[in-house]
Symmetry: C2
Subunit: 316 residues, 2 copies
């Protein structure tokens, strides 16, 4: 019995080996607790069967949800995933991507793209298949929700409720999500005849702390806004703190709209109105697109449609 025969017998098709041998080999493999060494196989075949995923932070439940669905989809296609927190920092991105390339990653899903970031370009140059998810970058294939439309939905909702003086907590000015959601929102208000002054649009981190700080700035304005659009739910939750600290009441004094509609939004003491995006679908589709590219085929960009879910922070 030669190793090559065993290798063939353990292959998924087991071609060119007698049925008897296949059975014998497989039984023995189980008995001996044999496990094929994926690394060694990769050395020979040139494929690590590994997909790298770059995210800003997994403690952001939005990214964790996307990663979860990516991992599942990759798993069913026979791939493992490695994930890296890049903290939206160029240095981290570099070193983590380097580590991935050292492991001869088969493809990369970039969930943290950032204006001015070079990761996508580098992969392009190296010929490593990649896809962007969640955030876009001009000239690269991306799977995202229609953030501009999402912003407009939030705006129309608030306009319909009679709000005219509104604030926006815009997130990171270098992430497409924050940019496009803010743009869609502002354009809708402008089109309605109520352009939003720049002082009412403040940048922030994407977490609760950032939302609290930015929300406080908005509440400190001479004429505080009657409604706030936060480009994600964590920011919105931070803003809730700011509104409370300013002695105002949610909805009655200041309405609030978040984005992503994470699970918690619905069960908060005051349930949060939010723009829902299908994060799991985004993850799945990004894997699908990446697999296509890995086979040398072309994949199309995707823009998933968001939906506004009205709750107590805006309506009775």
């Amino acid at each position: 019995m030669h190793v090559s025969t065993a290798s063939r017998a353990l292959g998924s098709d087991a071609a060119g080996v007698s049925a008897e041998t296949v059975q014998r080999v497989r039984e023995l493999a189980v008995m001996l607790g044999y496990r094929r060494d994926v690394g060694a196989a990769g050395l020979r075949t040139g494929s690590s069967r590994l997909i790298g995923v770059l995210v800003p932070r997994l403690t952001d439940i939005v990214l964790a949800t996307i990663y979860e669905s990516i991992d599942i989809a990759a798993g069913t296609a026979g791939y493992s995933t490695v994930v890296a927190n890049t903290l939206d920092d160029a240095g981290h991105r570099r070193s983590r991507l380097d580590a991935m390339l050292s492991r001869r990653i088969d493809g990369v899903i970039i969930g943290d793209s950032h204006i001015g970031d070079t990761a996508a370009f580098e992969l392009q140059k190296l010929g490593v298949p990649y896809v962007l998810v969640m955030r876009k970058l001009e000239g690269h294939l991306s799977i995202t929700t229609d953030d501009s439309l999402g912003g407009r939905l939030a705006a129309e909702h608030l306009l319909g409720l009679g709000h005219r003086r509104v604030g926006v907590i815009a997130g990171d000015p270098l992430a497409s999500t924050g940019i496009e959601r803010t743009d869609g929102f502002r354009r809708a208000f402008e089109a309605a005849g109520y352009p939003i002054d720049d002082r009412y649009v403040v940048g922030s981190g994407f977490d609760t702390r950032g939302g609290l700080a930015a929300g406080t700035r908005l509440m400190d304005l001479a004429e505080a806004p009657t409604a706030i659009f936060a480009v994600n739910d964590f920011i919105a939750m931070g803003a809730m703190g700011a509104i409370r600290d300013a002695g105002k009441k949610l909805r009655d004094d200041v309405a609030l709209v978040g984005y992503n509609d994470i699970d918690i939004a619905a069960t908060l003491p005051v349930p949060l109105t939010s723009v829902r995006s299908d994060l799991s679908a985004m993850g799945m589709l990004s894997v699908e697109a990446l697999l296509l590219r890995m086979q040398g085929e072309t994949a199309d960009p995707v823009l998933l449609p968001p939906v506004l879910v009205p709750r107590a922070t805006t309506v009775g």
Copy 2:
């Protein structure tokens, strides 16, 4: 110039190679964009420089936080990490652990241990170094917080506020965290002369949805509790929904204590009283312990002390 020379020149010590050669090799490596193939090296050296991490779910921010600190600590020690969501399901655990072993993982950090789970035993038998984090399992090295003490702290806080008829949302009955926090809490009430009836202790998932369902059951009791202890903050947030749905007011009608003190707890519209545990320290320490074990040394179990942080769900 032979590959062996190059390999030596690129090693961290670069022993047995002339300084001139080292410099030449390194310059060339940079110029050519050479990257050492970690997988191939692992084949020869027997070490993948990979640490596997098993968690129930990364969408649970508690686990995501622990994983984040594990990843950082592992990184500074020159290791990469692979993480797997096991969803507290035996089948998933099996297949994900298998995949890790196929990659010749150097060590495993188990964050999802469960009574009746065999992962730890299997690793022990295979001689693969491992450590438990967050949850304990009899007979295995673990790095956790003192959950029993945490439960007692919550109980003493509520007792001090005059609460006598209290409910507990206990989480998964097979996870040590839920078990010990609940036990510590009940023992303290019993010691104070107010034993808690079994009907006032309900199991649940560890997420918001689970908290909502369990909270609803508590609020539906003939004599609803005047305070609820939830064994984690997400459960507590679900319970907030249940309390609201029952038409009761947080704190005035029903006080609420959570566990872990995640970031959001402080900025909620009604800030949540919670038992804080140092999740990052837990992650770091688990890596430290694992590294020790990987070097064949012995590591000691750790019990980090929790602290109660009183907020508006219990006090004025």
